[in-house]
């Protein structure tokens, strides 16, 4: 895919140049000059040992935090200079968390619909879109079930539907199969691939799971806040 990017000359969806992020007034260096690019609709996995900076990178990509230095452009926006980061999170990126993080008191439709508040969509449109997404992830008929009434795999699929609610350019997933059994893990991976093709999203998946890494076009290895290997890069 990286070759394809170079060949096509298409603008990268994600462009990180010498990104640095520290905590505790510089005492802890989480990312130390990270540079990489991700092409449109590419499926990239980020991996590395605990504490290598994966979660920090994910938070920066989702505009949940800003880099100390360097440039990070996601979906055409410099995340350090966003005027309304919440709008960016709502409309440009979709987030899937390891623990699905569904709201337990809302049913599946509500959990998907809640991501669409603040958009121009009306109530009926939001409900229709939520239903359409639940159908897409294979949960038709389960819209009125609450998270405790769903299996782990079904919950993660609701989380995927929620992440896609506002048609984001980039889907960022943090250990999306971390809490799933083998069957559910396979289903979620197949679904991710299908969504990439059908919804046209770029996938960035943080994981330790070998099967998740195998499914990616490219794997970026982080260690001590640096990119130590970028499989697939020239």
């Amino acid at each position: 895919m990286s070759d394809q990017l170079a060949d096509d000359g298409a603008e990268p969806v994600i462009e990180a140049v010498e990104v640095r992020k520290t905590f505790n007034h510089g005492a802890v260096v989480a990312l130390d000059g990270v540079t990489f690019e991700v092409a449109p609709q590419e499926h990239v996995a980020i991996t590395g040992p605990s504490g290598c900076g994966k979660s920090t990178l994910l938070h920066l990509l989702a505009a949940l935090d800003v880099p100390d230095s360097g440039t990070l452009r996601v979906a055409g926006e410099d995340v350090a200079r966003l005027e309304r980061p919440n709008e960016f999170r709502r409309e440009r990126v979709g987030l899937v968390f390891q623990m699905h993080n569904l709201l337990p008191h809302l049913d599946a439709l509500g959990n998907v619909g809640i991501a669409m508040f603040g958009t121009s969509m009306g109530r009926r449109e939001r409900t229709e879109r939520a239903q359409e997404l639940l159908d897409l992830v294979g949960l038709d008929g389960l819209g009125h079930r609450r998270p405790p009434e769903l299996s782990g795999g079904e919950r993660q699929r609701v989380a995927l539907a929620r992440a896609l609610a506002n048609r984001p350019s980039v889907l960022i997933a943090d250990e999306p199969t971390g809490s799933l059994d083998t069957g559910s893990r396979r289903l979620v991976l197949q679904l991710l691939e299908r969504l990439r093709v059908e919804e046209g999203v770029t996938l960035v998946v943080v994981s330790h799971d070998e099967r998740v890494l195998d499914a990616a076009d490219r794997v970026i290895h982080l260690r001590d806040g640096r990119v130590v290997d970028d499989e697939g890069e020239d």
Binding site: H59, A62, L64, D65, R84, N86, E87, F88, R89, R90, E91, L95, F97, N101, L103, H105, L106, L109, G110, G113, I114, A115, F117, G118, R123, R126, T127, R162, N166
Partner: protein, 371 residues
């Protein structure tokens, strides 16, 4: 799913928290409503004295409660001579009781020749003699309640009196009273030539406020009262009651707000992850504060409704206590509901603002890390 639905759903989903918060609001509203109704009712009941006679205003002793006012017939003569005064009638007031059904009986000493000029109508029988010692007239409400007619006997303060007439003043307060001949009543009360109030009628074409001013300027011992507001201001006792009422309202709002804040802060800790998730999904701080405030407003409305209901129940219980029967006639003015609503909103907004702002300041990634 609309935003309003989400607000209502969240309130319903956390029933215990919502109920506790509504209860705190209800207690604040209950305090404010019951104190407000009681204060207003007592003030209105007492100010009924202003309606005893057809007069433009009432003259009482300056700086003393109207019911404790002590004037003299010499002062009455002086007022009658003031420019703009057409007529002034002096009455001596006292309170007593008439068994359990009438714990507050208003006694009015008045000259018989002043009864009709006061605008009092005789419904049955006639006026008492000026120097009669055991004759009385009863108000029409009292006569109906006790089934009294002219010629009947009535024991007041251990003395048998003969009812010679039934009068009608047109006011609730006056129609529950008993009238005595002034001279014998002054002797009984051991205040010869003593009076409590003067009912003043002004000459036509003269501004009432000017005559009031003339009366007050004629003696520093006199105050002229025209309405409920002036009545409240003239009586230090009522000023104190009003001050206590207002202080209680502030305390009730303060305590209520602290309880609401405590409950909402606990709820905030419980909902860290939820708020973090919706912030991560792109909700703005304003929308999140709107959600928390919206939930609080729903709870406030429930609390206000429950508080008003409990307040009315409290007032009803109080007004039926034997010692307060007839003294506390509950009056529910529209402003009481306004005050209940203001209290509920004040308690809720004060209590919820800090937790809501803290929720809005939460960093999404930090919030999601918390269990």
């Amino acid at each position: 799913m609309s935003f309003a639905w989400l607000v209502l759903h969240n309130v319903w989903a956390k029933k215990v928290r919502s109920m506790l918060t509504a209860l705190a609001v209800a207690v604040g509203v209950l305090t404010v409503v019951s104190l407000g109704v009681v204060t207003d009712s007592i003030r209105t009941t007492a100010s009924g004295v202003l309606e005893l006679a057809e007069a433009e205003f009432v003259v009482a002793q300056e700086g003393i409660g109207v019911l404790d006012s002590a004037l003299t017939e010499t002062q009455l003569d002086m007022v009658r001579e003031l420019p703009g005064v057409d007529n002034a009638v002096g009455v001596l007031l006292n309170t007593s009781e008439l068994g359990d059904d009438y714990p507050l009986l208003i006694q009015i000493g008045v000259r018989p020749e002043d009864v009709r000029p006061m605008g009092v109508r005789i419904s049955a029988g006639q006026e008492f003699d000026a120097d009669a010692e055991d004759e009385v007239m009863v108000g029409i409400r009292l006569a109906q309640d006790l089934e009294l007619t002219p010629g009947d006997s009535l024991e007041i303060d251990g003395e048998q009196r003969t009812v010679v007439g039934v009068f009608n003043t047109g006011s609730e307060f006056g129609d529950g009273a008993v009238m005595f001949p002034l001279v014998s009543f002054q002797a009984e009360q051991m205040v010869p030539a003593g009076l409590s109030l003067f009912f003043v009628q002004t000459s036509g074409g003269v501004a009432v406020s000017e005559v009031q001013q003339t009366v007050e300027e004629s003696s520093p011992l006199l105050t002229a009262i025209r309405d409920l507001v002036e009545f409240g201001q003239s009586d230090p006792g009522f000023e104190l009651i009003t001050a206590i009422d207002q202080a209680a309202m502030i305390i009730a709002i303060g305590i209520g707000a602290l309880v609401v804040m405590n409950t909402m802060l606990l709820s905030l800790v419980e909902r860290y992850r939820e708020f973090g998730v919706i912030r991560a999904l792109g909700w703005s701080r304003r929308r999140l504060v709107g959600l928390v405030l919206g939930e609080a407003m729903v709870i406030a409305s429930v609390g206000a409704g429950v508080g008003v209901g409990l307040g009315f129940l409290t007032v009803w219980i109080l007004s039926n206590l034997p010692d307060l029967l007839g003294v506390l006639e509950p009056i529910y003015e529209p402003w009481i509901f306004g005050r209940a609503l203001i209290t509920a909103i004040a308690v809720t907004v004060l209590g919820v603002m800090y937790p809501a702002l803290r929720a809005a300041r939460l960093s999404p990634q930090e919030a999601m890390r918390r269990e």
